[in-house]
Amino acid sequence: MPLIKRHDLKEHWNKFVIEECEEAFYQIYEYYHHYLSYVGTKRGFAIDIIQDAINDVFLYLWENRIKSSAIQNQHNYIITIFLRQLFRGDAKKYEMIPTMATLLENCEVPSVEDGFIQRYTEDEVGRFVKEKVDELGEKQRLLIYQKFYLGLSYHEIAVANGISINTVYNTIYKSVDKLRNLLTEEQETFLKIAIGALSTFFLFFLGNQ
């Protein structure tokens, strides 16, 4: 499933508010899940609070999908609701932000459209990782997501998850290492089977001679 790009968002948004299409809703959800996770973590919020706030936003959007058809700039709309949810109960932090407009300008956009997603093609390694990714726990996948995809620093990830930098670092390394070892094992098994098949063939061939 390809991840959508920003310029396709408008089309999905219209499909969602007019046709109430869930697939389009999920596409928008996925795009903003990454965007808002990045923005929230950069502001020092815990990742579970961020994920809850994202779901608050999309629960609201889902329930008000008919009313949302009047919205011109869905991007600012989504970010505004998200930040309101995030800073809820923390009026002090909220007041420190001069205006919503400057905040929006200062939010750097994560490079959703650069890098990994464009480069990613499903090859042997890709299919293998896809099969095995569930063997890593949800928390491990979350840390990998934050590091490799969102490109957050080890420090930011440690703060967002309430764990030590060392643990973040080790967990990510362990996950990559585990997959590499599994991959090597599989390649070796494949090689053994191939050699086995080849020898059987030769035996058969010689037997016939």
């Binding site: 996925e30 899940h33 480069r119 890709g126 569930d134 949800e138 490799f148 643990t167 390394y173």
Partner: protein, 398 residues
């Protein structure tokens, strides 16, 4: 060929950027690096493809996981709005009145009748730096209550508590006759403590553990006794024997096991309620001997031994074994029973868990500074088991 350090590659932001293919100067940097070292190309290529695939699939599953939670919330809301469940207005008014009355009664009861209730979940706080030190003369010092500074002078050794809340033994100038004197440090449930022994070796006690050690180590061996879980960093010590330098071995005794060390880092988990003694080696080498049958094995770094009746040696998940020293709980398909034993020791609570639920496996990472509810939530969110806390006792049900 020198082995490629894949761990160091992952720590380098520019390498991750190279895998992403953006920005260009990082890609160029690593391409140049590979041109000079063509022997690493195959390995680096593979690492890059794993990182790319992992980034993609971890990203897709992470947003899917969270979307499933959103769908659950949407489904719950729809259920509530189901017309069958709607109640007429007068019933609503009656219900509101009843609710107001009940709340008023509860507030009244709370403020006038009942004593303060200490059993709420939020009050179960994590453990902290706490321990009891027993000196050679039998007197005891509660280390979390006593002020920073010198605590005692025993047989020419100064016992000090540092600003960072550790215990340090320092040999002062004057020699003493009382060479056999020993001290004991013991942590309660919900406590941990760090100390530096007179030979410079470091020991870190987890909750409900103890360490018994002489204040002067002998010339030919150093020997300590422990219970519970302790992480050691043993300092190398040498003496001159027959004209050459020889290492003075360090011995760690537990109930059924003895470890012989020269200079190394390792963790020993010997709680009596665990299925066996686990010794995990991080650096150096150690010899572990069973005092039940004299069986003896040698551990290499990254290995661990498990002793029940006989030794089982295997590769260790070192990070998981010593995560407690970094201030985290790390669970990797760990049984609920094992998780709850750790919880019981760190939060000082009792556990009631039926055996069939104790076998359930969980993954997770939780900081040890989080309140008890953090781990309880981690388990409950999976929907596999329910945890209820009453009077410092966790009861697990289906």
């Amino acid at each position: 060929m020198e082995e490629l350090n894949l761990k160091a590659l992952l720590a380098d932001e520019s390498f991750i950027n190279y895998c992403k293919g953006y920005p260009a100067h990082d890609v160029a940097k690593w391409e140049n690096w590979l041109q000079d070292r063509p022997q690493y190309r195959k390995e680096v290529e593979e690492q890059k493809r794993i990182v790319q695939a992992l980034a993609y699939h971890a990203t897709v599953t992470t947003s899917e996981d969270n979307y499933l939670r959103l769908k659950e919330r949407i489904a719950k809301k729809n259920k509530k709005l189901d017309p069958g469940f709607r109640i007429s207005s007068w019933l609503k008014i009656a219900a509101s009145l009843l609710l107001i009355c009940s709340i008023s009664y509860l507030i009244f009861r709370q403020s006038f009748l009942s004593k303060p209730d200490n059993n709420t979940q939020s009050l179960v706080i994590p453990g902290e730096e706490k321990a009891l030190l027993t000196l050679a003369d039998g007197s005891t010092i509660s280390l979390d209550e006593v002020a920073v500074g010198t605590l005692a002078l025993e047989g020419g050794v100064l016992v000090e508590k540092t600003k960072s809340g550790q215990l340090i033994y320092r040999v002062s100038g004057s020699e003493s006759n009382n060479k056999s004197a020993s001290n004991t440090i013991a942590t309660p449930k919900g406590g941990q403590y760090r100390l530096t022994l007179p030979d410079g070796s470091k020991a870190w006690l987890n909750a409900a553990s103890s360490l018994h050690y002489p204040i002067h180590f002998e010339n030919n061996e150093r020997r300590v006794k422990m219970t519970g879980e302790v992480y050691f960093e043993i300092a190398k010590m040498e003496k001159r024997q027959h004209g050459r330098m020889e290492s003075i071995p360090f011995y760690v005794e537990t109930a059924h096991q003895e470890i012989q060390v020269l200079g190394t880092h390792f963790n020993v988990n010997s709680y009596l309620d665990e299925p066996g003694i686990v010794t995990t080696l991080l650096e150096g080498s150690v010899r572990v001997t069973s005092s039940l049958n004299g069986e003896s094995i040698l551990l290499r770094p990254g290995q661990q031994s498990f002793l029940d009746k006989h030794f089982v040696v295997g590769d260790a998940d070192v990070e998981q074994q010593v995560s407690w020293t970094a201030g985290d709980f790390v669970f990797k398909s760990e049984s609920l029973a094992s998780i709850l034993r750790k919880v019981s020791r760190w939060y000082d609570v009792d556990i009631v868990c039926p055996p069939h639920l104790g076998k359930l496996k969980f993954d997770g990472i939780v900081s040890r500074s989080q309140p008890l509810t953090a781990i309880m939530d981690m388990v409950e969110i999976t929907g596999k088991a329910k945890l209820k806390l009453t009077e410092r006792r966790i009861i697990v049900t289906d």
